[in-house]
């Protein structure tokens, strides 16, 4: 059976890839942020996961308001990025995955989820920045990616309890997949930030630390928040915690945090990073 070997939470903002493009990782502003990534890269290098399930949100590239999914999952063989308004960064094509992804779709439908199923989508920075963070040389071709896109742009958004349940269903689907693949799950985005309005600039570092703690030890407590709560406590983009919860939901066995970092501010955000090791129940 396929196995979720671990989970990674990480920021996914465009400023990160801009900094990497411009070689700014070791400047005072960025040093604390980037210095925390090598242990995660080392773990990925040691573990050699076959598949990455990446929870992300689409910030107005592919999932426009004309037909906006609540949950969208990709089943394509590959994914390209596209111009998001500031010119297209030429990045290597993201390798997709077409077996486990369809199995997940089948299981989600069987278990009363209503996904939008994608055979051809562009992926935005929410997905590609984490790949670049993990593979600074952009040699991620070997890694098969299953995108899972969560509506974080227009209320009503899926409830944290629902996104966590989505993760649980995905985790069970991975476990029932008749293969030996090693799967890593990313929860991208967050943590607290607000880009819009007079409240722009809001950060809540205390809440961010609490979220990172509870993500490991008591994720169900986090699922009791409504998206209103997440906006109040974490800023309007605080709802991106949903991706972290989706990731955490997939890990139904024993979860151990083996690495953490938090730096605020990084751009407008409280930027968290966690590496969680997962030991499936058996």
């Amino acid at each position: 059976m396929a196995k979720i070997i671990g989970g990674i939470t990480t920021s996914h903002i465009p400023a990160i890839s801009n900094a990497m493009e411009r070689g700014l990782e070791d400047t005072p502003y960025w040093r604390d942020f980037f210095a925390a990534y090598p242990p995660v890269r080392k773990w990925l290098e040691e573990q050699q996961p076959d598949i990455a399930i990446i929870f992300y949100n689409d910030h107005g590239l592919e999932m426009f308001l004309d037909k906006k999914p609540t949950f969208a999952i990709g089943c394509a063989a590959e994914y390209e990025n596209a111009d998001e308004g500031w010119g297209i960064a030429t990045i290597p094509t993201v390798t997709g995955e077409t077996e486990l992804s369809w199995h997940i779709v089948n299981e989600l439908i069987e278990h009363d989820f209503d996904p939008t199923v994608c055979q051809d989508i562009k992926v935005d920075h929410g997905l590609t920045v984490p790949l670049r963070l993990m593979y600074p040389d952009q040699n991620y071709k070997h890694l098969k990616v299953i995108p899972v896109c969560i509506n974080c742009e227009r209320h009503p958004m899926p409830k944290p309890s629902r996104t966590f349940a989505l993760g649980e269903a995905i985790g069970k689907a991975v476990e029932s997949f008749p293969g030996d693949e090693k799967v890593v799950v990313f929860g991208t985005g967050g943590l607290s930030h607000q880009l819009d309005g007079e409240r722009a600039g809001f950060i809540n570092a205390d809440f961010d630390e609490e979220c990172m703690d509870k993500l490991v030890s008591d994720p169900k407590a986090l699922t009791k928040y409504s998206n209103y709560d997440l906006v109040r406590l974490g800023g309007s983009q605080g709802v991106e915690l949903n991706m972290w919860l989706g990731m955490r939901g997939t890990m139904t066995g024993h979860v151990e945090e083996i690495h953490r970092n938090y730096v605020a501010p990084i751009s407008n955000t409280g930027a968290g990073l966690q590496l969680l090791r997962h030991t499936p129940k058996r």
Binding site: D26, H155, S236
Partner: protein, 119 residues
Amino acid sequence: MDYKPDIPGNTFFNGEMAAKGYNLNKMFHSLNSAAGREAFRADERAYCEQYRLTPEQTETVLNRDLIRMIELGGSIYYMAKFAGVLGLNVQDVGGLQTGRSTEEFQAYLDSQGRGKTHG
């Protein structure tokens, strides 16, 4: 859920706002393409009118009135592409919305962080 609008300085981009701002956000979404950005730069008013923005929405675009733009249904995800065309980053946009210079806004961000641990 249509939440009570009781978080100061925050507008929930919900169904009502999404309906109100559909054309505005659609116009901004078109700035994903280089051709769209070029056409916008060539004649901003005409571009807004092509996308059937209301006159009020068009004025917020021409005047870079981000706060009023949000009131008229602008979603920050699409407004960010507009900001990109203007050469503004998210800290510039934060400053503009909060009556600060970009440096002041950065200082505000710093004041809420935990400082640095490395270097």
